[in-house]
Amino acid sequence: MFTAPEISYAAFAPTIIVLLAGAVGILLEAIIRTHTTRRHVQLGLALGAMVAAAGTAIVQWATYDAAGVVAQAGMFVMDRQALAWHVMLLVFGILGVLLFAARTRAGEEAFTPLGSTAPGSEDEAEARRRGFELTEVFPLALFAVGGMMLFAATVDFLALFVALEVFSLPLYIMVALARRKRLLSHEGALKYFLLGAFSSAIYLFGVALLYGATGSLSYADVAAAIIALPDMSPLFVIGAVMVLVGLLFKLGAVPFHTWSPDAYQGAPTPVTAFMAAATKAAAAAALLRVVFTALFPLEWELNWLIWTVAILSMVVGTVLALVQTDLKRMLAYSSVAHAGFILVAFAGFSPQALSAVPFYLLTYGLATIGAFAVLTQVREKAVDGTVGAEATRLGQWAGLGKREPLLAASMGLFLLSFAGIPLTAGFIGKFQAFAAAIDGGAWPLVFVAVLCSAAAAFFYVRLIVLMFFTDVPEDQEESIEVDYHPYARVVVWITAAAVILLGILPGGVLTLFEDAATLLTGL
């Protein structure tokens, strides 16, 4: 007989606020006809919902005792780790949504007027002529954020899958919404969707194997069953590997990274910013919980998997980033390398990873959103003076430092943070991650990681040299225009300030993450 589960709605309040606002946003899309009003209402709704959710999560942090509460037995927990991820994801969401709302001076959005039309079709031309501007990207972002928040808070393999699909499906659509280079955008989205579905299948297969081997779907029961089993069965080892592969796909680790360059490049840049920061954070959050509460009895076996994937990610990501000429693709491969650095913190299963990983993701996410926010502002200019698509070829950025010193300096700051140069947030993040690995005894891995960091510094610094120390070719002087919207500027300033602040005075935030370094099993 079916009994309705007990659900603690108060504990779910932040997620409910965000998902509800997403549902309301879809309705508003249909109700409000004038698009200027609709844009303002959608932006206000999305920002309001996420700020309210973040506020609620902070209140929960303050009111719950140190351990947190079980929101639904065996399914979802609201411990401090989950709340920390919630706030972080909401911050990324707020910054991302601000970028969504930014337009060029001529009023051009980053998104296609009508997402459902085929590129180059009559319908598309018609939609453009009529000045359509759909704003469904705002509720889609809310759904994605809501799904990610669940993703970080679940302690059940099946609930994890549901959350995964809740945040993935909106992302597939968002990637396809680019206004310019529509074909590239569609191609990226389709690849992302197909490979995402493929990896979801692998994940589900793994969950089925685990269920077959242990008879349970909740993390704690799986862990208990593995410990209780007399000897190692290939069944749950293979199941565990397949589950991890599903999560590593979302994290963008090699060899499951292939979607990311195409999706990063094809997606509208504000979506790339949001996706790069938030998806990686959500994936790391889930991976952390799965590894530390469900699969830790397989520590010895899985350690090798983590080492292999971490080294592959760092090396391949760095090496391929070196040879890129497109800025978005370069940042995509850099994110692959960063997936490797994140995995370094997991090696050795040190408890320090529980605070190091969230801190790393925070520093990485802020710098990523900042870098892509700068990217949205540097645009090609046609001979007749109209401002066109974003200038993503590396060469086009030559001499930007002389024309826009502040903007170029913030870009330089984000790049230095990626490279992990001291006095930026990235340095503290890397330091924490590597310290966790050392604590776990994985110093050879840290050695490789440091070498990769050094090699990676090359392509970050190359762009800085290009911006500040290279003379502009004569014919290029006129072909680049910095076209910005106040929202994009605000995002750049906020992230730049945060990167500096976390680099110089990380103490307060580090302490918060240390407080968050406990996981509830949810039973």
Binding site: F198, V241, D262, A455
Partner: protein, 626 residues
């Protein structure tokens, strides 16, 4: 008053900042603010002196706690001032001579558009110098040490629109850095050995350290002292430092800052008392420099450079005395004080001559100035008699004591040091008389448009006051061993030692040599005609005129090898380091190009890659398990 000694530093510092920040609106009255700030330090210093004098000899030590400076680490340090006979002596010297020179500068710099800035720098110097002598720890002393270095640099290059003056400032700064490194290393050694940098803590523990450590500390302190006090081998900057306005040369490069090295050695007497080796090196450096400076002084035609060489030589005497240990400390400081008066007085006299002679500094173009500038002639003459050591003028009382002490001891040392000091006295008599006669006596050798005149009263009054000191201070302080007794709490009580020659013999020898020096100088530069062009020099003269080719030696020994080393390193960097890096980079790029093929853009190959990756990992882990 003792607790108000922080005003000694705060008042001139505040005045300095006020003058710099006020800008042009303070041009009309800024110099008087500077004078007032300096005068205040003298009043406060004198009050502290009187109060200290009222105490018993044993309790004449007052610590002023300012604030907790460094805490929470292994190094715990409070910033505080130490008011004792030694520091008060310096405070009185610096503030008194400093105030007179401030006054003098009001007239001397009257036509300079940046007079206000000049006074700001002078005030900065006074503040830093007083901090240096009042600090109760080596670290705080170092702050003052760097502060006077900064002020010295700013003032030497005050007329930096002339490139050679700016170069001179840079040279002084760079050479002083070498010395500063010595002080830093000394502090490092002290912190490693004693765990502290405060005078009290360090001196209380010196007995526990090994002699080798103490010698190392002593020698590094000596390096610091040679830099600041222009002693061999770091003396080369002082002559060029004469590029600064003459009051600066008088205050900083004669009376006060350059004596900081002597202060440092005497302040660290607790360390030097226990290491004979370091003391011996100090004495040797002093003896060498006193002869070197005297010989250089004999060949210089530039009046300021001759005086600078003389300063170097006189500080050599002080170093020698300080290196003799407890017998010499008090005499080192004694000579430092009297020297501060007569040398500052002579520099001001030189400034007065330059003032009346349109900034002419070539002594071959002077002569017969005694009638044109009577006050300058008389005051300079008193300073001249004082530095010669003619009784009863100031130098006699202080320098003779040093010569006597140099003859104290056993073995070869008293003979070497004593004879050096003795010969130095004769040389001093010669070159100072040469300077005096060439400037004030003989025939006028002025260029055509010169109309020398006496300086205004603002300049002559300080000269007169300093001349009074040159004449009477030695006798006043030496009477009944007043000065040695006053310093006893710091330098320690010393039993009287007999020199290897008896005192009357030494005194007779000294005075004879001095007389010979004066007579020779008179015959050659007073009675005979002095050619306006320097005659073709002998090798010895050439050597002395070029400061013993110190600059060339420095260039050959340090600069050239340094340049070559740098070039080699740059080449190695380009060929080896960059080569390796670039080689790696090329390899990595090639790897990247080949890896790129996997990113074919076809979703089926991406999926295949994921599948292969999964299979590989499963195989890896499962094989690992089984």
């Amino acid at each position: 008053m003792l607790d108000l000694t922080w005003l000694l530093i705060a008042v001139p510092l505040a005045s300095s900042f006020a003058l710099l920040l006020a800008g042009k609106r303070a041009d009309a009255w800024g110099h008087w603010l500077g004078v007032a700030a300096s005068a205040t330090t003298f009043v406060v210093g004198f009050g502290a002196f009187l109060q200290l004098l009222g105490l018993d000899a044993e309790s004449r030590e007052h610590a002023v706690h300012l604030f907790t400076w460094i805490s929470g680490s292994e190094l715990q340090l409070d910033a505080g001032l130490l008011v004792d006979p030694l520091s008060v002596t310096f405070v009185l010297l610096v503030s008194f001579v400093g105030t007179l020179i401030h006054l003098y500068s009001v007239a001397y710099m009257e036509h300079d558009p940046r007079r206000r800035v000049f006074f700001a720098y002078l005030n900065l110097f006074v503040a830093a110098m007083l901090l240096l002598v009042l600090a109760d720890s080596y670290l705080l002393l170092f702050v003052g040490w760097e502060g006077v270095g900064l002020a010295s640099y700013l003032l030497i290059g005050f007329w930096n629109h002339k490139p050679e003056y700016a170069t001179a400032a840079n040279k002084a700064f760079v050479v002083n850095r070498v010395g500063d490194v010595g002080l830093i290393v000394a502090m490092g050694l002290m912190f490693a050995t004693f765990g502290s940098l405060g005078f009290e803590e360090v001196f209380a523990q010196v007995g526990e350290a090994s002699t080798a450590t103490l010698t190392a500390i002593g020698l590094t302190l000596l390096v610091a002292a040679t830099g600041k006090s222009a002693q061999f081998p770091l003396q080369s900057w002082l002559g060029d430092a004469m590029a600064g306005p003459t009051p600066v040369s008088a205050l900083i490069h004669a009376a006060t800052m350059v004596t900081a090295g002597v202060y440092l050695i005497v302040r660290s007497s607790a360390i030097f008392d226990l290491t004979e080796t370091a003391r011996l090196v100090v004495a040797a450096v002093g003896a060498l420099t006193l002869l070197l400076g005297a010989i250089i002084g004999m060949a210089k035609d530039d009046i300021k450079k001759a005086l600078a060489a003389s300063t170097m030589s006189q500080i050599g005497y002080m170093m020698l005395a300080a290196g003799l240990g407890p017998v010499g400390y008090a005499f080192a400081i004694f000579h430092l004080v009297t020297h501060g008066f007569f040398k500052a007085g002579m520099f001001l006299g030189a400034g007065s001559v330059m003032h009346g002679m349109k900034d002419q500094v070539d002594m071959r173009r002077f002569g017969a100035l005694r009638t044109a500038m009577v006050v300058t002639w008389v005051t300079f003459g008193l300073g001249w008699l004082a530095i010669l050591g003619v009784p009863p003028f100031a130098g006699f009382w202080s320098k003779d004591k040093i010569i006597e002490s140099a003859f104290v001891g056993e073995g070869w040392q008293p003979w070497v040091f004593g004879l050096a000091a003795l010969i130095g006295a004769g040389l001093t008599a010669f070159y100072m008389s040469r300077l005096f006669f060439m400037t004030f006596h003989g025939k006028a050798r002025w260029t055509d448009d010169q109309h020398p005149h006496e300086s205004p009263w603002l300049m002559t009054v300080p000269m007169i006051l300093l001349a009074v000191g040159s004449a009477g201070l030695g006798w006043f302080l030496a009477a009944g061993d007043r000065f040695s007794t006053w310093l006893e709490p710091v330098t320690g009580h010393v039993e009287h030692h007999e020199p290897v020659l008896s005192v009357p013999v030494i005194m007779t020898l000294t005075l004879t040599l001095v007389a010979v020096g004066v007579v020779v100088a008179w015959l050659k530069y007073g009675r005979a005609d002095v050619p306006t062009e320097a005659p073709a020099p002998s090798l010895a003269t050439l050597t002395a005129r070029n400061d013993f080719f110190q600059d060339s030696v420095n260039r050959a020994v340090f600069e050239r090898p340094g340049t070559h080393l740098t070039r080699t390193l740059v080449y190695a960097d380009a060929a080896v380091v960059d080569g390796a890096v670039n080689g790696t980079a090329t390899g990595v790029s090639k790897l990247g190009e080949s890896l790129r093929r996997f990113q074919s853009g076809q979703v089926r190959s991406y999926a295949a890659l994921i599948l292969i990756g999964l299979a590989g990992l499963v195989a890896f882990v499962v094989l690992g398990v089984l």
